[in-house]
Amino acid sequence: MTYPARTREGVTILEPKGKITIGRGDIELRDSVDEAIEGGSNRVLVNFKKVTRMDSSGMAELVAAYKRITEAGGQMKLLYLPSNIRDVLGITQIAQVFDIFEDEDEALASFQ
């Protein structure tokens, strides 16, 4: 299964919901990013608004996805991080890898 996705201004916006955790959410994240890349889109914005929890497996997939996209010459950014997700991405220092936005228009405008 992959996340619902929409395209705006040439950017694929992934909209995961619920948990990005071991065994399911982490695999959905991987598959969703692969699907975007295979579909020719390497500009990806992940909207975390409806994500309730992320564990270390979800984080491992997030940095792996970032690596795949940047190696393909693209960009991956994050939108609307809930406070608990911001907390764990800060502790693990993953937050410093990403551009993180609180506004979708602003996020889209930042893609080059």
Partner: protein, 161 residues
């Protein structure tokens, strides 16, 4: 009232809950539910419930994935003991154990893109005490402890300036 009866009972004795799951990832969600309900029952705030819930999830996921190698016939036993002083959670798998020190330090910039090491970092950050005990044929036992009323480690840092 059930709430006050429970808290009265807790003053004199410990509250203990034991759960035993087969090594399937979907069972980790059950542990999540129990952790959350139990911590809420003893009056923990939402942020602590969230943080401790993730620490427990990481320890159970390690047991299922790295300890028991996802073999469903192998079990992960989780025991919660809550007293007025602390919440103590023991997670025991039936695996061969692993070398904690061999895990990459996830905070080393060189390791930022490596998949492993973050679970233990989260446990150490969110709990007051994390202990791994390797019991040979009897698997690995992780003990997570949170002292009730203890100062939040992040706050401690702020206080120190």
């Amino acid at each position: 009232m059930i709430g006050s009866a429970a808290s009265k009972a807790m003053n004199s004795e410990q509250l203990q809950v034991d759960i035993n799951i087969s090594s399937r990832f979907e069972n980790i969600d059950l542990i999540d539910l129990v952790t959350e309900a139990l911590l809420r029952h003893v009056g923990m705030d939402e942020e602590s419930i969230e943080r401790m819930g993730l620490a427990v999830r990481e320890a159970v996921a390690n047991g299922v994935q790295h300890g028991n190698k996802e073999q469903p016939e192998k079990r992960v036993a989780v025991s919660f003991v809550v007293s007025t002083e602390e919440v103590r959670i023991q997670i025991r798998d039936q695996g061969e154990g692993f070398d904690v020190d061999a895990l990459p330090d996830p905070l080393d910039p060189e390791n930022l893109f490596k998949p492993r090491g973050r679970g233990i970092l989260l446990m150490n950050t969110f709990m007051d005490e994390v202990n791994f005990e390797f019991k040979g044929d009897r698997g690995t036992e992780v003990t997570l402890c949170k002292r009730l009323g203890a100062t939040d480690p992040d706050k401690k840092k702020e206080d120190l300036g």
